[in-house]
Amino acid sequence: MDYLWGTTILVGFYLGGSALHRAGVPIPGGVLGLLLFYLALASGLLKTAWVERASTFLLRHMVLLFVPLTIGLMDMRELLSRQWLAIVASLVVSLLAVLLTTALLGRWILPVEPGLHKDADCAGQGEDR
C-alpha cells in the first residue's frame, strides 16, 4: 500500500508537470513535476513518509528505466563511427571544466560562514591522506 500510494503521487506530479508543459511552459514536464513535488514537500503539504519508499525504490532501479533507450545505440553504429571523436572530446573537455569550476568555486565560497567552516573541518578529517 505504501509503494502504491507513493507511486500514485509521483505519477500524479509527473502528469501535472507534463500538462503544464503542454500548456506552454518551456521546462520539461518531469522537471516541472519535480519542482512542484519539492515545493509540496518543503511546505509540508506532502508528508515525506507518504513518498519515501516509492521515491527511493524508483531511484534505486533507475538503471532499468534507461535500458531500452541505451539499446537504441545498436541502430546508431554508423553515426557513432563518424562522430566518436567529437563525442569523446566534448565529454572529456566538459567533464574537466565542470569539475574544476565547481571544486575551485566551492572551495572558495563554501566555507566562508564560520559555522560551516568548523563543520566541514570535522567531517573532512581522516578521509584525505
Binding site: V11, F13, P26, I27, P28, G29, G30, V31, G33, L34, L35, F37, Y38, A42, T48, V51, S55, L58, L59, H61, M62, V63, L64, L65, F66, V67, P68, L69, I71, G72, L73, M74, D75, M76, L80, A86, I87, A89, S90, L91, V93, S94, L95, V98, L99, T102, A103, L104, L105, G106, R107, I109, L110, P111, E113, L116, A120, A123, G124, E127
Partner: protein, 231 residues
Amino acid sequence: MSASFWAGNPVVSIAVTLLAYALAIRLHRQWKWIPPIVAACVPVVAVLLMLREPYSLYNRGGSYLTWWLGPATVALGFPMHKHGVVLRRSLPRLACVVFAGSIVGMSTAGLTAWLLHAPLPVVMSAVPKSVTTPIAIEVCRELNGIPQITIAMVILAGVLGATFGVPLLRLLRVHDDRAVGAAIGTTSHGIGTASLVRQSEMRATVSSWAMAAAGVFTSLLAALLALLMRW
C-alpha cells in the same frame, strides 16, 4: 521461432528487459567493476540481433519502461528535500556553485562538439551530458538532440568522474567535503554520488543535492537556449 515468438509484442520486450536487468544486478553484486547498464544491455542486444528483431519493434514494449523516467525525475525531489533540510544554511552558496558548474558544463560540451564539426543534433545531445539520466533525456528532447547519444555520454561522465574525480581533486588540494561533494554531484550525477557514500556522509549529502539541482538548473538554462534558437 523468431518472428512468431517476439514480433514486437510489448510484454515480451518488457519481460526480456526485466530479466536482463535482474541478471545484471546479480553480476554487479558479484563483480563490482561491471556497470549494471552495460551488463543489462549486452544480452538484450545479442538476442535482438540473433532473432533479427529490429529495435523499433523491441521498443514498442521498451517505451513503457522509458515512460517511467518521468516519475523517476519527480522522485529526485525527495532526496533534494531531505538533504536540503540538512544543508539549509549553505544552500544559497551551494546553489551558486552548482549553477556556475551547469553553465560551464553545457557550454563547454556543446562548443567542443560544435568546433569539431559535429552535426547540430549531436551538439545538442552533448549539452545535457553532466546531469542525471532522466533529466538529461528530457533536456535532449527539448533541444532536438538524440537521446541515445546523450545517455552514452551521461553514463561515461558518471563513470569517469566517479573513478578519477576525487583523486584529481586531491591533486588540486581540494579537501573540503562540501566542495568535493558539489563538484562530483554536478559532474557525475548519481554514479558519482554513489561513489562518495563510502567516503563521508557530508560528501554524499552535498553531492546528491548538487546532482538534483544541476538537473533543474540545466533544464532551465536549456529552455532559455531553446527560446534563443527559435528566435
